[in-house]
């Protein structure tokens, strides 16, 4: 009797989970090294960068919008031959055998190595009203939603680079902006912090936490507590943007036996390898310093380590690599196009 599998799985050399800077950088490297690379992203390519209002600390770019930088990463990975599966969601990993199995809502993949670059999501405040008013004044993306609050009174909660960048983006739009932080100083870079402190329509509320978000059909006020004198008070706002940090997207990996620390970040060694051979992790999902440059660097290390694992090392020739031919004509066209295009295109026709 012929046994037929329920489904045919897709075979590849490397599967990368996550399409932010770490995953895209890893993909650029594995593709150039001749490994067949499939990158799976559950929502939109680009990761957190895609919704960063602006970036001023990525070397080579004094000032670039997150949307533009992520677009460049995506185009670069595509040109190098990374195959994107978007939107597709990984639902289960089986990592214990030599062949790693990645199951998604659409397909099953078999790979010799897996790079987990699934990033981190915005932490919730977990206060009453947050869930109820999500999308009704509570937001987690200033770039997406900022313009709904033109001329209005808004609060940003948080004190890191993300909170201060989002606050700076909003200062140009809103009438008045409160920045609520539980400490007495921002953790953000001084270059960002100073600009925010100099903005005329910003009021800092130090040593303050949000206890409740209240309103009717939309958010109307925040109930706050001053931690210094333990007094509760209210401020009237039309909206609140929450940027109090991140929580790692590591549950599926952890369920498959990948070791995580007590906060859920994936534990890796210097080669970005996890506790499971052939499984690597890079970027925000590994915690530590969450910066685009760090994510890119970790993605590259993970890619090189995966390459060594899959091929047995540079000269082992354990595996026949696919011929890599990059379409440099396309490169040239693109460069010329970029020279011509002085202002940002009105339409974005590529994913």
């Amino acid at each position: 009797m012929l046994l037929v599998n329920e489904y045919m799985s897709t075979k590849t050399d490397v599967v990368i989970i996550g399409g932010g800077p770490a995953g895209l950088a890893a993909g650029i490297y594995t593709s150039r090294l001749g490994l067949e690379t499939i990158l799976i992203e559950k929502t939109a390519l680009g990761g957190q960068v895609a919704v960063s209002p602006f970036i001023e600390n990525y070397p080579g770019f004094t000032m670039i919008s997150g949307a533009e930088l992520s677009k460049r990463f995506i185009e670069h990975a595509e040109l190098m031959g990374v195959e994107f599966r978007v939107p597709e969601e990984v639902i289960k990993l089986e990592l214990s055998s030599e062949t790693k199995i990645v199951k998604t809502n659409k397909d099953t993949y078999e790979a010799d190595a897996v790079i987990i670059a699934s990033g981190a999501s915005r932490k919730k405040l977990n206060v009453p009203g947050e869930k109820e008013f999500a999308g009704k004044g509570v937001s987690y993306c200033a770039v997406c939603d900022g313009s709904f609050f033109r001329g209005k009174v808004v609060a940003v909660v948080g004190g890191g680079n993300t909170a201060v960048s989002e606050a700076l983006h909003l200062t140009g739009l809103v009438k008045k902006l409160y920045v609520i932080h539980r400490r007495d100083d921002f953790r953000a870079e001084i270059a960002l912090k100073q600009r925010l402190l100099d903005s005329p329509n910003v009021t800092q509320l130090w040593n303050t936490v949000v206890e409740r978000i209240e309103g009717d059909t939309t958010v109307r006020r925040l109930v706050l507590r001053d931690l210094k004198n333990n007094k509760q008070y209210e401020i009237e706002v039309d909206g609140v943007f929450i940027a109090i940090g991140y929580t790692p997207n590591s549950k599926i990996a952890a369920d498959a036996g990948v070791a995580v620390d007590k906060e859920g970040y994936i534990i890796v060694d210097k080669r970005q390898e996890t506790n499971i051979k052939g499984v690597y992790a890079a970027g925000d999902v590994t915690g530590g310093i969450m910066q685009i440059g760090v994510a890119v660097g970790e993605g590259i290390v993970a890619a090189m380590s995966a390459f060594e694992h899959v091929t047995g090392g540079w000269y082992a020739k354990k595996k026949k690599l696919k011929a890599v031919r990059i379409d440099f004509e396309k490169f040239k066209e693109k460069e010329e196009h970029e020279k011509r295009e002085e202002e940002k295109s009105l339409f974005k026709f590529k994913l």
């Binding site: 929502t43 939109a44 680009g46 895609a50 919704v51 949307a67 992520s70 939107p87 969601e89 809502n105 999500a134 999308g135 009704k136 004044g137 509570v138 937001s139 987690y140 993306c141 770039v143 997406c144 939603d145 313009s147 709904f148 609050f149 059909t217 939309t218 958010v219 909206g239 066209e333 693109k334 196009h337 011509r340 295009e341 202002e343 295109s345 009105l346 339409f347 974005k348 026709f349 590529k350 994913l351």
Partner: protein, 226 residues
């Protein structure tokens, strides 16, 4: 005015045109009727008309474009009184209320292709959707700077295409149509509203990108009045 300034420039670069022409050549099968509804005092109507004419030219006759003024009939039918409104498909099953600018561009292009080749990927649900006893309207409220939004819009559009006209997917650009965003108290995008067409009432289903099966389940429930 920045709009006029932008309009002096080419709407699409030669590189974009080549990309679109190649894509259309490879992927368009059946003709795609597109209606553009315009009105006076409409900031983006001319831009949309120019864009759609270029796309039609790149489609080797597959895109059948007509441009109409929004008359009382359309006003009554669509509950909007200004343009631009773009209707795609035999049954006008996909609607763009406002321009597919910024991040929406790629999903708009993909929608044209899917309307033509019907490769919506929802074969398992097609029967159920076509058998709906009431028309369901999905409104996805978006902004041009939201990278997640086109994914929600494309999911809704695919459902509309698979339903053969039983479901209408309407992508609403919040800055051009603030009155619609306000009607649903939208302050974050994408916000998805589901309505049954007769009577015209609805409710916010979700503020995020839903999975296709979640959205389809919700549509089936709305249609039977749950």
């Amino acid at each position: 005015m920045s709009h006029e300034h932008e309009h002096e420039h080419e709407i699409l670069s030669e590189e974009d045109k080549k990309f679109i022409r190649d894509k259309f050549q490879k992927e368009l099968i059946h003709p795609v009727p597109i209606k553009l509804l315009v009105s006076d005092n409409c900031e983006y109507c001319h831009l949309m008309e120019d864009l759609l004419r270029i796309l039609a030219n790149l489609s080797d006759g597959k895109i059948q474009l007509t441009v109409e003024k929004i008359n009382d009939n359309w006003k009554e039918k669509l509950k909007v009184d200004k343009g631009p409104v773009i209707l795609i498909g035999e049954n006008n099953e996909v609607q763009y209320t406002g321009s597919p600018l910024g991040e929406e561009g790629w999903a708009f292009l993909e929608t044209i292709v899917l309307t033509s080749n019907k490769k919506h990927g929802l074969d398992a649900y097609e029967g159920k959707l076509k058998a709906l006893n009431r028309k369901v309207r999905i409104e996805t409220i978006v902004t041009p700077t939201c990278p997640y939004c086109p994914h929600a819009v494309l999911t809704a559009n695919r459902i509309a295409i698979a339903s053969g006209g039983k479901v209408v997917s309407d992508c609403v650009e919040a800055y051009e149509f603030p009155e619609i965003a306000d009607k649903w108290s939208v302050t974050a995008v994408p916000t998805i509203v589901l309505s049954v067409e007769e009577p015209y009432s609805g409710q916010v289903f979700v503020v995020s990108v839903p999975k296709e099966n979640q959205l389809i389940d919700a549509i089936l429930k709305v249609a039977i009045g749950e």
